[in-house]
């Protein structure tokens, strides 16, 4: 009994009746999410993997140029884009998928939502926190690559690494958004992560292979091909980063030429709109669903 000393007056700053604003709650949740993410194992794992892969890609491509000191759209940028295409969607999707579902499974979500917060605040707070942690991860990975490359004297087009970082972040946000939608809909954390990996496979491999089959077997028209590929955020990222890295899209053959001809200067806006759509739409669906049924 005497281990407990109950104070008659709790030391509190006084009773409040007005709940904190949306923004404040979102930031509170985001801050906590960010702290947890940065301390977590996956963050360190992804950051290290990203930097190591990036450096590997860069070194291989520098070595292959055979010391001729040539620059251009070489395998460095292409290799980095390729690596981002593979790794970043996986990062975003799994980070998002793990967010809500595992909290729900462990009962944390119920406890959190019993506080004066709305489900929307929790969801957007988590999104913000995870997005910032992904940003840190990408910046560390690509920044290390850039530093080592510049130390090696590798010539690269000015700005392309910044573009790559920015666009990778965009892709990460889009994938995070999809991941959070999966998380909101899934009943179990394991199901959410499994679904996320499946979606990753679909976006990264299956849709492209399907479109390729369509091109070869159905003689798909170029404009259809281009429009369909705009539906895949991974393809959008690829085209956009090629476009932004100072290369014209004619690298991508007839479809790229068509895009340049048809849309030319509007391509940046088109790609941005597609990417923004992939960030916004899943998040909006997720927040509507989550607000209606936070606990399933």
């Amino acid at each position: 009994m005497n281990t407990i000393s109950v104070a008659d007056e709790l030391v509190v700053a006084g009773r409040r009746t007005v709940p904190p604003s949306h923004a404040r709650n979102v930031l509170t949740v985001a801050h906590r999410e960010l702290r947890e993410a940065v301390r977590s194992r996956w963050f360190i794992l992804y950051t290290v993997a990203f930097a190591v892969l990036g450096l590997g890609v860069s070194f291989v491509s520098t070595a292959v140029a055979g010391g001729t000191g040539l620059s251009g759209f070489g395998r460095t940028t292409a290799g980095l884009i390729n690596m981002v295409l593979l790794v970043v969607p996986l990062m975003g999707l799994t980070a998002g998928a793990g967010s809500v579902a595992s909290d729900r499974e462990r009962g944390m979500l119920q406890y959190l939502l019993a506080q004066p917060v709305t489900p929307g605040e929790v969801l957007f707070g988590k999104f913000l926190g995870l997005a910032v942690s992904l940003l840190a991860c990408l910046c560390l990975g690509l920044g290390t690559c850039a530093l080592v490359l510049s130390w090696q004297g590798q010539p690269t087009r000015p700005g392309s690494i910044l573009w790559l970082a920015g666009l990778s972040f965009g892709l990460a946000m889009a994938m995070l958004s999809v991941g959070m939608l999966i998380s909101v809909l899934a009943r179990k954390a394991s199901v959410a992560v499994g679904t996320a990996v499946f979606v990753w496979l679909v976006l990264v491999f299956v849709t492209d292979l399907g479109l390729m089959a369509g091109v070869v077997s159905l003689r798909m028209r170029i404009e259809d091909l281009f429009l369909l590929s705009l539906a895949n955020p991974v393809q959008v990222f690829k085209m956009w980063s090629l476009h932004a890295a100072g290369t014209t899209l004619d690298v991508l053959g007839p479809a790229g030429l068509y895009a340049m001809d048809q849309y030319g200067p509007r391509l940046h806006a088109i790609f941005a709109a597609c990417m923004a759509g992939w960030v916004a739409v899943p998040m909006v669906i997720a927040s509507v669903t989550f607000s209606r049924r936070p606990l399933i």
Partner: protein, 491 residues
């Protein structure tokens, strides 16, 4: 009349045949018209009066100033600008017309021609032989220097800037029509249509640069042409050789020539040519070979060229045969060698004796240390093969799906495509370059800065979150991170 002539010409070219010059009526591409026939001629100005007053062979010096007049040089004179006098065409018609042989025009700035493509408004039009056009600056011109039947002429050290019109409405920066034994040296052409040689023999084109044009250098039915040390960048095509014989390309740089038919060097039914020590970087297609060499008198020789970082290093149309490629560097082209459509490269050789080419994607090794790989280099990636057959598939370049297909191609011999060609003696190391490398390392410092910014941003976030600031730790040990300062928190 004029239109129908052009139409005939166009038809002849597009038919892909090989019409001889003699089959054409001998007229210049646009009929010669006297100055001022259409445009209201400006009153004869000071330069005109000086020319009229000069004796044959005299040197007429023109002082600085802006002269609004059209100039006709009808007698052999040397016209020299001192202090770069400006001759302004006022936006219509031609500006200088030379009708006498042996005229020299030197040191002028000529600007502002008309934009009538049918009249072919030109800054300097030469209609007689042995002209010397040197050290002039041409700005805002439809056609720059247009030489018609001016054998033995020299065009040297001029700078020619075209009008920033849509490519279909531009004129040629420099054009030689039936000008044998001419020298084109150290000119800079930008924002024009083509630099063009028609029906001209024994020409040297040396040290010029052309950028942002359609064809950096275009040969039509021109024989015995030496093309040396030119830098042709960011055009649709760097050098396009058509129906010409005896062309030597040496130490040229062909950089970033892109677009639907972006080639570094395009060869169409050209014969007895050689390309040596050229640098081809960042083009959509490094070398495009269509029906060349035309005869079997001499193989098409490609030696010591560096073909790097192009989307496609070398494209052969299936009809192309008789080329020999030795000691070239094929570095990091997305597709090293392709055959457009179906076909094979059996009529071309990729090695001679014991020397092949350097291929950056060669995976073999060299046990005996003779500098030559112990295994054959074969180009046979599945995706390359698919792309050759269906160019639309290029859209999926750099995607993981492409790698998946390559992986399948390597893992399953059943789907592995036939090798397009083989190099029996691939080189282990690149052949030392003999061109002057353009300095394009400027990005390195920027890269370092970008790297610093990114690392600082990422590290900053992590540190702010994980590094609790000592002074703000609460008595009971509640850790207050740096980020709390941003997000708020315990106060």
């Amino acid at each position: 009349m004029r239109r129908s002539m052009c139409a005939i010409l166009l038809l002849a070219c597009s038919a892909g045949g090989r019409p001889q010059p003699d089959e054409h009526p001998v007229v210049s591409p646009a009929s010669v018209h006297p100055l001022g026939a259409k445009e209201a001629a400006l009153p004869t100005g000071e330069i005109g009066r000086r020319i009229a007053a000069a004796a044959d062979g005299e040197v007429v010096e023109i002082g600085p100033g802006v002269y609004h007049e059209r100039i006709q040089v009808t007698r052999p004179l040397t016209l020299v600008g001192r202090g770069r006098p400006v001759i302004d065409g006022g936006g219509s018609g031609d500006i200088i017309e030379i009708t006498a042989p042996g005229v020299t025009i030197k040191g002028f700035a000529v600007r502002n021609t008309g934009i009538d493509l049918e009249q072919e408004n030109a800054a300097i039009r030469v209609l007689a032989g042995n002209a010397v056009i040197e050290d002039n600056v041409l700005e805002d011109v439809l056609f720059g220097i247009d030489l018609r039947e001016s054998p033995g002429s020299v065009v040297k050290g001029n700078r020619i800037g075209g009008k920033l019109l849509d490519i279909a409405r531009r004129g040629d920066g420099l054009r030689l029509w039936r000008c044998d034994h001419a020298l084109v040296d150290s000119n800079i052409v930008h924002d024009g249509r083509d630099t063009l040689l028609w029906y001209s023999t024994d020409i040297t084109v040396r040290g010029n640069s052309a950028s942002r044009c359609r064809y950096g250098l275009h040969l039509m039915f021109s024989d015995d042409v030496k093309i040396e040390e030119n830098v042709l960048s960011e055009n649709s095509v760097g050098v396009y050789l058509m129906y010409s014989t005896g062309v030597e390309l040496t130490r040229n740089q062909l950089l970033n020539n892109r677009g639907p038919s972006g080639y570094g060097i395009g060869l169409k039914e050209t014969d007895q040519f050689s390309a040596t020590d050229n640098l081809l970087v960042g083009n959509r297609v490094g070398v495009y070979i269509d029906g060349s060499p035309f005869s079997d008198k001499k193989p098409g020789e490609f030696t010591h060229n560096t073909i790097a970082l192009n989307d496609i290093g070398l494209t052969f149309l299936p009809s192309a045969r008789g080329n020999e490629l030795t000691e070239n560097n094929f570095i990091d082209n997305i597709d090293q060698v392709s055959v457009a459509g179906r076909g094979d490269l059996s009529g071309n050789r990729f090695w001679k004796g014991d020397r092949g080419n350097y291929w950056s994607d060669y995976t073999g090794y060299d046990q005996n240390g003779d500098g030559v790989g112990d295994f054959v280099y074969e180009s046979q990636t599945l995706f390359d093969n698919l792309m050759d057959k269906e160019p639309k598939l290029r859209l999926f370049l750099f995607s993981p799906a492409q790698q998946a297909i390559e992986f399948v191609g390597r893992a399953l011999p059943a789907v592995r495509p036939e090798a397009k060609f083989t190099d029996e003696v691939p080189l282990m190391r690149p052949v030392p370059a003999r061109y002057v490398t353009a300095d394009n390392r400027g990005g390195s410092g920027f890269l370092a800065a970008a790297g610093c910014v990114l690392t600082a941003l990422g590290g900053g976030i992590v540190l702010a979150v994980t590094w609790p600031s000592r002074s703000r730790r609460t008595a009971s040990g509640g850790e207050v991170s740096g980020l709390t300062l941003v997000f708020g928190g315990v106060r």
